[in-house]
């Protein structure tokens, strides 16, 4: 899963941000976008490229929820569980999705097909419950839309 040329990738991306101050977050975002996650092996590479200590890079990777230290499933369903969606009944949607997808929240299904993750607010708070399905926003989730999501991520 870890690309053989990780050091080349990190080096090339670090080059892109070399002129920026505080380049570590942009670099980690770029690594995740290209590789899909941030392998631990990227930590010393990023540290060397930006002249930081490994501890500093490790601290940042582990602080932010966005950075994945393990590969995600082929599809990612992010469901908002914050207050405004709770007020609009996301509890039942969470149970239905967990049941139909066969994986609980914040887990990746064993076959690697889908990751089901919680997100705290997508800013669509008047039309919840809301989800991001492979980065595509879906609002007013109901049984029909749950069916559609399940079909989409099973493909």
């Amino acid at each position: 899963m870890i690309p053989d040329d990780l050091d080349t990738i990190v080096g090339r991306l670090a080059e892109r941000f070399s002129a920026q101050r505080g380049a570590l977050l942009p670099l980690l975002h770029a690594i995740q976008e290209e590789v899909g996650w941030v392998p631990d092996a990227a930590t010393p590479l990023g540290a060397r490229a930006l002249n930081l200590s490994r501890a500093e890079v490790h601290g940042v990777v582990t602080f932010y929820h966005d950075f994945r230290r393990e590969p995600a499933g082929r599809h990612v369903v992010k469901l908002c569980l914050a207050e405004a969606c709770k007020a609009r009944g996301v509890g039942a949607i969470e149970a239905a999705l967990a049941d139909r997808l066969g994986v609980g929240i914040d887990k990746t299904r064993a076959d690697g097909q889908v990751s089901f993750e919680a997100v705290y607010c997508l800013g669509l708070c008047a039309t919840g419950p809301n989800a991001l399905v492979d980065d595509r926003p879906v609002s007013r989730l109901d049984a029909r839309k749950v069916d559609r999501i399940v079909a989409q991520v099973s493909a």
Binding site: R21, F63, Y64, A84, C85, K86, A87, C121, A126, P137
Partner: protein, 522 residues
Amino acid sequence: MTRAYISCDMASVALGADDIAEALTAAGCTVIRTGARGLFAIEPLVEIETTDGARIAYGPVEPEDVPAILDDTHPNRIGDLATLPFFAKQQRFTFARCGITDPLSMADYTAHDGWKGLAAARALPPQAVVDAVKASGLRGRGGAGFPTGIKWQTVLDAASPEKFIVCNADEGDSGTFADRMLMEGDPYCLLEGMAIAGHAVGASHGYIYVRSEYPFAIRALNAAIERAGPILAPFTVEVRVGAGAYVCGEETALLESIEGKRGQVRAKPPLPAIQGLFGQPTVINNVLSLAAIPFILAEGPERYAEVGFSRSRGTMPVQLAGNVKNGGLFEIGFGITLGELVNDIGGGTESGRPVRAVQVGGPLGAYFPPSMFDLAFDYEAFAAAGGLIGHAGITVFDDTVDMAAMARFAMEFCAVESCGKCTPCRIGSTRGVETLDRIIGDRIKGAAQREQALEAMPQMRNAKVKHRSVDEEIGVLRDLCETMKFGSLCALGGFTPYPVLSALDHFPEDFGGARALPQAAE
């Protein structure tokens, strides 16, 4: 050719606006994508331009409705949106263009009074711009309500070869979406406000820190920065993307994050205005504060300040969210009551059940019962009532809500999102979850089960042999909240007690306590 307007706002797209735009294009219309109008009950919304330039609205609609829209026979015909009470009652200063113009069209922006504020500001010396902002009475729209002009004055007075403008667009509070709507629907307005701030305090570079959950806003801002570059020059702006840490909405944690570090809160002083980003004097303002600036400079501070209530001047883009019928963005002068917002404008709950609680100001805001709906929307009035207006998001709950579960969620959220720097927040929130679990556990299982609890086992020699009663547990929880409120370094630990204490005060029956006295008639 028929011109059709349809929103490209993330909320509209999530409701299917893209499919409708495609169907309209296929039917031969010229489709113009705008920001969101702000009333999501009628989305997806299409507006068709008539021969005299007026717009006739239809919503909500589906892609197969396109023929009925084009021959004007659709049953969801609304007509002129401006006549709907939801829009007629608003005072749109900051959101004047949102939903009307193509967000990325420089021609539209200029035609709708864009860049006037920047031109006016650049004709003035920096001190005069700061004075105008002071005279407008604008206070920080991120929640703290600190006077923007005074903050700017501090940065202007700080001698330094390098200063920064930072826009806090890390809008993580559930129930708020005004920043997102503005960045997607009128990004030039924010850039103009930042360029004015740069001129006023002598800063030449700005950062917009946007949360990663807002991909549409990130795209819109990057495109807008590229197109507006020549007008903004010599001021330059850069977008920085967050990485899912709620605490980075706190200004000092946000600065750390831009610097490429863990988003840990800094102790204040030194204030960011003196020693902010990369140690330099920094103006850090919320999206809505900066977006209010162009209007103030273009129309004059008096025009802004004449609206409002007491020490809260100007308008507030209020967001009606959660279980509410007419959810959306409602910009209005301060002073309107909570009840007017929830019942008259919002139309009560969408589920049709009675309103039981509203949370104002996001996850750190207090829960209010309907008996307090005469509260005026004003920084001081809310503070006096044990709450905060925060970023002016109002999340409505019907009578099915379990307030003990919501109080537990508030503590759990704080435990997960705490940056770990100070003890009351880092440890207090975890102990809060445990205490609430015991209270909720007792409520469900009854106290008898608790005799088998871990603390009561003989091995636990130092633990209390007899566990606490519910009332004692609530006493522990209140005590813990006091510690967090006064001992935490920032608003995350300091305000998490607000939802917890307000739930305890106004909804004691959910915690297994005595039922509250019947609410006085409204």
